[in-house]
Symmetry: C3
Subunit: 397 residues, 3 copies
């Protein structure tokens, strides 16, 4: 990697802050930069008041990063294709308007409209109560709210790097602390990067335990898409050894679990658990492709880092949020005590760092989609996929 140009946009430690910011790569005399740029603005008004938004445009693909929402990825574009979905929530929503404890621990939904939102870090999954040692060292009951806190914590430090390779690379790094006294002490260092002209961007997350004692950790990437990838006849494709329905509602659709309906008023979500297969290095991928297989979004990940995969089907009416979620994770979004019981929580000693990486890739041609299908078939070729007809008690709480 060549030397990079670096700009610090936010640093609460040294009181650095830029309300607005813009770099055009062509002004840096970089090759093939075209309209490539990084722009930051602070949104005002409505539920977005105070939200930091960083737009990365690599010339072909653009994405918006939300430091204010734990370095989530709000929306994007690839050429003329929109990436993301239309949530009933009018986001991006500032955490000041999200009360995680609302509606019996489902308050997280008030802020949920991102294309990629992290669930975690101390906990992920459905609301529950857990028992942890309190300040007096005694077992104490705490509420764990839906999908944890990380998506509603703003980054304390944000940097932009432009690496003058050919093609140049644009990188945004953010640090988010889920840490306070007598509570978990986890730091997320998230690095989002893309090559100019490419059809993909990559997130590398490093999560560190800052405490002097062991910590548990859960992390799931909730990657959400609507039209034009999701439509009647769209499919999910992923190499896997196991698919299982979450519950009775998912059992109803088990024969068509990998296919999607048009917007369907009154549709109730269906969720399927996967055990993904991978190549010899652990690399794998999941694809959502449209009905005619000429448009697709692909999530690449590594099963050593993210061994679990969840498919969320929510093909309700447009006004209710027509969407599907492709969700690689360290485990499944059941309640944390259940995942603990299954031995799926990440254990982190003092000072340890857990690394995970995902890449989002977009295809807008039939050959592009076919090539991904071939990749998936290659991983699947020597293995059997078992589709369970009933929920598994190792997977559903």
């Amino acid at each position: 990697m060549a030397d990079s140009n670096t700009w610090i946009l936010t640093d609460t430690e040294t009181h650095v802050w830029h309300d607005q910011f813009e770099i055009l790569l062509r002004n840096l005399n970089l090759p093939a930069a075209n309209r490539a740029a990084v722009r930051k603005k602070t949104l005002r008004g409505g539920l977005s008041d105070g939200v930091d938004l960083i737009e990365i445009d690599n010339g072909e693909l653009s994405l918006s990063v939300l430091p204010t929402r734990g370095m989530g990825i709000w929306k994007g574009h690839y050429r003329d294709l929109e990436l993301g979905w239309q949530s009933p929530a009018r986001g991006p929503v500032h955490p000041q308007f999200v009360n995680l404890q609302d509606r019996g621990g489902l308050g997280w939904l008030a802020g949920f409209d991102e294309m990629i939102v992290r669930c975690g870090l101390d906990s992920n999954g459905s609301p529950t109560t857990d028992v942890v040692p309190n300040n007096m060292g005694e077992p104490s009951e705490v509420d764990l709210t839906l999908h944890g806190k990380i998506a509603n914590i703003p980054a304390s430090r944000v940097e932009v790097h432009i690496t003058p390779d050919d093609p140049p690379q644009i990188t945004v790094v953010g640090e988010v602390y889920e840490a306070s006294l007598f509570c978990p002490g986890l730091r997320l260092r998230s690095t989002v990067s893309t090559r100019c002209g490419s059809n993909a961007f990559t997130i590398v997350d490093e999560i560190s335990n800052l405490k002097g004692t062991d910590s548990e950790m859960e992390l799931l990437y909730h990657c959400n898409f609507g039209a034009p990838f999701l439509e009647a006849g769209a499919h999910i494709e992923i190499p896997a050894s196991l698919v299982a329905p979450r519950d009775a509602r998912a059992v109803e659709g088990i024969d068509t679990y990998n296919q999607y309906l048009a917007p369907t008023p009154g549709y109730v979500e269906q969720v399927y658990w996967y055990e993904p297969l991978a190549d010899e290095t652990g690399n794998t991928l999941a694809m959502l492709r449209n009905a005619t297989a000429d448009k697709a979004v692909v999530i690449r990940f590594n099963t050593a880092e993210l061994p679990s995969f969840t498919q969320w089907k929510n093909t309700a009416a447009q006004g209710d949020g027509y969407v599907t979620g492709l969700e690689p994770g360290t485990d499944y979004p059941n309640s944390k005590p259940f995942e603990r019981q299954q031995g799926r929580l990440v254990k982190m000693p003092p000072g340890a760092t857990y690394r995970s990486e995902i890449t989002l890739e977009v295809h807008d041609t039939a050959p592009g989609v076919a090539a991904v299908q071939q990749e998936i078939a290659t991983i699947q070729q020597n293995a059997e996929l078992t589709v369970h007809q009933e929920p598994l008690n190792t997977h559903s709480s």
Copy 2:
């Protein structure tokens, strides 16, 4: 209506925002405009930090609209009379400082200091638990907090219109979304307008169900006044067929339900339910007038839109909030399950819009008050008023 001049002050969709804004109507060459103006500022500091406030001055009457608090009306003036009340809360309070779940679901009170605040839209009334379908379609318990959410949601879009009639009309329109995934999906479009030189302003609200499924809706206008209208010997006057006390405490005061005390340390609130009478088009009105009947505020509404009326007497010490509420609503501020049981919730099919309108009018002369009394008498003349001595189980939960 003549063509109007339009300014967009806020639009989160297109990233429009004005931190400050001012129009003097005389600069638009409009007749009779005098000092008429619209001004917007963003408040800073204390509990008001970040609150948008739009002041409308029609030359005789002024009012301040709070886009940040769901398009509530904070305070106003008519000539030398103050409109509103002195709440113990130092407002206007930004929603970031209001936790609706505080104090057993009474957290709404931390932000309550407006002259007109909407209660709703998914729910109104006293805190309770309700059972609604969750994301899995299963019955699930949710907390409904006092008076619902709408007063603590900022408007996503705000416009100002000046209509060059003679006299000119000033209008502010705001859109507020009470909507997120697996939650109610309601949009309020509120239009506040006043004619230059008039003693009144009007609110027209249109509430739409954005979901693909049926919704319930409740809406109450909590209109609150202190001095100089409220004082020892002040009266409420309203044509009605029925008045009933809410509870034992209200029974204590049933003989003087329509009269008010001076500030009374230790006074505990008394609440009365009304079934208002209206003219043949459904139009009716309620008046709070001072002891000598030369100052009054009048709320005009239509019983087809707002069939229920609640009187809230809270003549406690000044430091505790000396105030009375005149509250037309779609129903009464009991718990939502009770109102559902009584068949008083508004049912909204997908895409439906519910309209309601109220006008606030101010009088500062004895003849003005007498004319309103005559209007009330005309509506009442052919009907009996029944004052119940005990709570009705159809009206109190």
Copy 3:
């Protein structure tokens, strides 16, 4: 006192606000002012976004006041010594990011990183439920969260005064309202002052009951220090008649209650209750000194105002918050109902004002520390200290 120069930095009543502000005392032609200054900035980004911070520098000692966090004192310096501690929370944390009800009522911890934070005013101490009259005058259950609300309420009014004495005095005054309808109605007026060149600053708090009815009040100054005062072998010294352990965990350390460990991973907090002794005017003091007794912080207070004292030992790993708290208060940080039962709540009639004062003083020489030890010995000389080996049921709930 000579006439003072006054600047209003915030007044929500009259819409005064300064985003940035600076006075250098040398520009006022004051004697011995050196680099003495008052500066205010509004922090941006991360969890500090929107926090007002006022830095007072008297030339030798500096401190930062947080109007946004109820006039708490964030950190300070005396010559080359840092005052405060390293909390796992990356503060100062804006109240918008603190949900007091989180983690079973321990949400206050998310914002806790100050050197001096007030606990109160309606309640202090461990989370609990209490029964208070509701709006209908009926007994109603409310949640009281850890250490109450005052540290998460922003000041409505902030002033700076420079008094041109020799040496000049710098004063910051802030007003914070813990008040809303049917809720406590308490106003804190806090005056923070320091003489140029001195090694100390003083806080005078006046708390008023704005209601027409009696109120209860609790107030504790949570004064927190890490290195270089806290270290292996550091001691607390305070004249007292009684020391008692809070619980079984504190019993374990009763023989070394006044000594401190190095950072100790897995250490669970130990808390001791004190009944302080004072001179004939009620004045007393508590000191934290380092192992070699050449560095110390001293808290001076008056037992007529603040009769109770709590020592909080939390010598956990650095990443968990290595810290000790010296906590003079109107009572002990047990649950409010327990303190009520012990008769230790402050009762405030309508209009009453309660005054309390603390001074923080820093020493960086052995003679300075020795002189304080002599002061403590003088107060203790005619009285016995009883160190209880077991928790007292009058002191622990």
